[in-house]
């Protein structure tokens, strides 16, 4: 029977006609520029050091989470437990720091390890146990948040002052948070040149074809979740620096926001196409929308509505260029 054995392979192809929603990456940069423009015009002191710094400080966790989510989505997966991983990392890092600067390296290493291990578990469930990622990670999210609650039954812990002050500092005239975001971008650029990213893209593009080609599919999937978990750990560490404390509920809402950022940034939810650059822009756009609503003086009952409406409108607008490229 022609076409049946790799039949699912064809899904990847026909999707290209029908289901293709991919914001071209440049659209997200344009949107980002627009968001910055609108924000700056509404906000008198937008370009002051404090303001830029404080914005960047809040961007870091979502940016890192969005990059992690991007890698997972590129590989054809999705991680609904990302926020719970972030929480767990937050709690572990703060608990281990015990407020002493000497323990910071240990705590950060442990945080990365925890993030990586959670990612590993998710990856094994998706790749080897072959569960549907969206529900498997929904289930693991309970496990990670349960663990977080177990480790830190109520918010607290203390973070050395030097650590969170350092995060708010300026280094060589550029805010530390900006350095971190630059670091994340560089990390992505390095990863992009690595075989593993190519394999992740191949698996997300067409799993069966990738397998038939000799790509180590399961390993690539696991790698995508482990990398995702590591970036989630970075996000968790960013939150520790931003909040200077631990909280067993801190990460939850980041999960869905990170997915939105990824899509606004031009990565296709079905995997295989896109990149982290757009997601970083997407994360910033989402954060800036909050600012815009703030500085536009929207009445308090309308804030939620306007916020949501802007996001939906941005998605719809961003999607229009892709409508024109419908043919094969």
């Amino acid at each position: 029977m022609a076409g049946s054995v790799l039949q699912t392979a064809n899904r990847g192809l026909w999707r290209s006609v029908w289901d293709r929603f991919r914001v071209p990456a440049w659209v997200s940069y344009v949107l980002l520029a627009a968001a910055v423009g609108v924000n700056a015009s509404l906000q008198p002191y937008f370009f002051t050091l404090y303001n830029i710094q404080s914005n960047l400080n809040t961007f870091v966790p979502l940016v890192a989470a969005a990059v992690g989510q991007t890698l997972i989505i590129l590989g054809g997966g999705i991680d609904l437990s990302l926020g719970a991983i972030i929480t767990l990392v937050d709690v572990v890092v703060v608990t281990l720091m015990e407020g002493s600067i000497e323990r910071v390296p240990l705590a950060l290493a442990a945080g990365l390890l925890v993030g990586g291990l959670c990612g590993l578990a998710n990856g094994v469930l998706a790749a080897y146990v072959r569960l549907q990622p969206i529900v498997a990670t929904f289930a693991t999210s309970f496990i990670w948040s349960g663990l977080a609650l177990w480790i830190m039954p109520r918010p607290g812990g203390s973070v050395p002052r030097a650590f969170y002050r350092g995060y708010r500092d300026v280094f060589l005239g550029i805010p530390v948070a900006a350095w971190i975001i630059l670091g994340i971008i560089v990390l992505w650029l390095i990863l992009k040149r690595h075989r593993v990213t190519r394999y992740i893209l191949a698996v997300g593009g067409d799993e069966r074809a990738a397998y038939a080609t000799g790509v180590p599919v399961a390993k690539a999937k696991v790698a995508s979740y482990v990398l995702g978990g590591l970036f989630a750990a970075l996000a968790g560490i960013g939150i520790v620096a931003n909040t200077a404390s631990g909280d067993p509920y801190v990460g939850g809402p980041i999960t869905l926001t990170s997915i939105t950022a990824v899509v606004i940034g031009g990565t296709r939810l079905s995997g295989g196409a896109g990149g982290a650059g757009g997601s970083i822009a997407g994360a910033m756009i989402l954060s800036l929308v909050g600012n815009i609503v703030f500085f536009a003086n929207v009445g308090s009952y309308y804030q939620e509505l306007i916020n949501g409406a802007i996001v939906v409108a941005a998605l719809a607008l961003a999607g229009i260029p892709s409508l024109r490229r419908r043919s094969l």
């Binding site: 790799l6 075989r195 067409d206 000799g214 295989g272």
Partner: protein
């Protein structure tokens, strides 16, 4: 001792026995054809060799050593590569990225050596480009390439793996004549260097042109291996399907009636430039020319699946505008699309639903209620009249062989009693037996006054079935062949625009 031996290979997919103790043996330095009807197990046998399919039983020896292939990653060691029937390209990746996927040159940390990759890819591409006389853009995502170019990239990909054993599973299905030649040239070079090439095709001309020996499969078992120098096409067909069932393409078609059922004037659209023609009742109108000259687009526009930018369509004397295939269906049109898995079938759904989906509105009661009994009767009718071989109507369509799947795609329209059937390469990848049945069927339909527009990549099929052939070139009708002009020379000449000012 042959270079490659496979013996006692068994594979069962759920209830379907794909391979039933098949065996295969071939030497280095030969092109060995693997033949058989649809569903006889050719692709499965190939996939056992490339590790995609895990056999239930069987033994593989290469160079006298028993080998275990636990997955496609293992084939690297034995230098086995394949052009898969369904292609194995990653749509979003570029040609450059696809061709050496999983074989990228990289440093010890795993970072890809881009320069080295590019060099290696261009080297392979160069071997084709000479024979092809043109180059394919390797920096575009392959999904944006034409099906033919995708198939070529798949071939580049297999070649780039520097195989000792190369499998070509219907690797020519989407290729034009010149491209087939180019592929053959490269394959011959490879053979001359001592590689073993396994060639799977339903086109006998190609088999005889390229191969030295052939092994024939039937129902998952090996019927035998023959030297192609000593056999005829008919001998092979007998081996494949048992005695008797030979196609009778060249039987004079019944003449069409006079009434025009479809009139097209100045149709422009995606890849179409002012197409005009008339179609009469009971007529088979062929669409010829090189593949990719707008034939498929014409069918899609006629069917409302793509919008025309200019021009008029009249069905049975009335001007129509189809915004959706549903509109075309209401006017008695049907489309048998070119890629059945992608466009024709819902593989995971039951055969019954696949057969009834296009006509269920005819049988609905009230606000869309369907009677299970009447749906089943309808489906049974189609199965009977087309001689579709199925297990049970409630089994998923994916369990059927290619030929039977194709019959489902045709059968679903018959239930709708169409007046005009648009067929886009309906016998692509279909075996001789099924082809013959389809031809017979087209005849029967036209005798009842149904008209057919047939796009086909096989010239003999086109010539044998059509009353007239419209030869298309760059979206326009370049020539109309009828009567004595309906012969292969004229057809090829018209397609290549020989003897005409360009």
């Amino acid at each position: 001792m042959p270079y490659l031996t496979m013996s006692g290979v068994r594979k069962r997919f759920g209830g379907v026995v794909a391979l039933d103790g098949a065996s295969f043996a071939a030497e280095r330095g030969e092109v060995h054809a693997l033949l058989g009807a649809n569903g006889s197990g050719k692709s499965t046998l190939s996939k056992v060799l490339t590790g995609v399919v895990a056999p239930d039983e069987g033994r593989i020896e290469i160079d006298g050593q028993e080998v275990r292939i636990r997955g496609p990653q293992d084939t690297r060691k034995y230098r086995i590569a394949a052009v898969y029937q369904e292609l194995s390209l990653i749509p979003q990746l570029t040609g450059m990225e696809n061709i050496l996927l999983a074989y990228e040159p990289a440093n010890s940390l795993g970072f890809i050596d881009r320069k080295g990759l590019e060099r290696a890819v261009l080297e392979v591409a160069a071997r084709f480009e000479q024979a092809l006389g043109r180059r394919i853009d390797l920096h575009r995502p392959v999904e944006t390439l034409s099906p033919g170019d995708q198939q070529l990239i798949e071939a580049y990909k297999a070649l780039a793996r520097q195989p000792e054993i190369l499998i070509l599973d219907e690797a020519t299905a989407s290729l034009r004549q010149a491209e087939v030649e180019a592929l053959f040239q490269v394959v011959r070079e490879l053979r001359d260097k001592g590689a073993l090439i396994i060639f799977i095709s339903h086109r006998f001309q190609e088999v005889f042109a390229l191969c030295d020996r052939a092994t024939v499969l039937r129902n998952g078992q090996t019927v035998g291996t023959v030297d192609l120098a000593g056999v005829t096409e008919k001998d092979l067909v007998d081996m494949m399907v048992g005695r008797g069932a030979v196609s009778e393409v060249r039987e004079a078609p019944t003449p069409p009636r006079d009434d025009v059922v479809l009139r097209v004037r100045g149709l422009c659209g995606p890849r179409l430039q002012g197409v005009s023609f008339e179609l009469r009742a009971g007529e088979v109108l062929g669409l010829g020319g090189l593949q990719g000259q707008g034939q498929s687009e014409l069918l899609r526009v006629l069917f409302g699946a793509e919008q025309a930018s200019a021009g008029e369509i009249e069905v049975a004397g009335r001007r129509v505008v189809f915004r959706h295939p549903r509109d075309a269906v209401r006017h008695g049109l049907a489309l048998v699309p070119g890629n059945r898995a992608r466009e024709g079938l819902m593989l995971g759904r039951p055969i019954l639903e696949n057969l009834t989906i296009a006509s269920m509105h005819r049988r609905r009661r009230g606000p869309g209620f369907l009677s299970a009994r009447r749906e089943k009767e309808a489906a049974d009718g189609a199965v009977r009249s087309l001689g579709i071989k199925i297990g049970h109507l409630s089994g998923p369509a994916s369990t059927l062989s290619g030929g039977n799947q194709q019959k489902i795609v045709v059968g679903k329209w018959l239930l709708n009693k169409p007046r005009i059937i648009l067929m886009d390469d309906p016998t692509k990848g279909v075996d001789v037996g099924a082809k013959a049945e389809l031809y017979r069927f087209i005849r029967e339909l036209t005798q009842e006054g149904v008209s057919v527009i047939l796009n086909s990549s096989e010239n003999m099929e086109l010539l044998g079935l059509s009353h007239r052939v419209l030869v298309m070139y760059e979206g326009a009708i370049a020539d109309v062949l009828e009567g004595d002009d309906l012969n292969e020379n004229r057809l090829v000449a018209a397609a290549m625009r020989v003897g005409r000012p360009a």
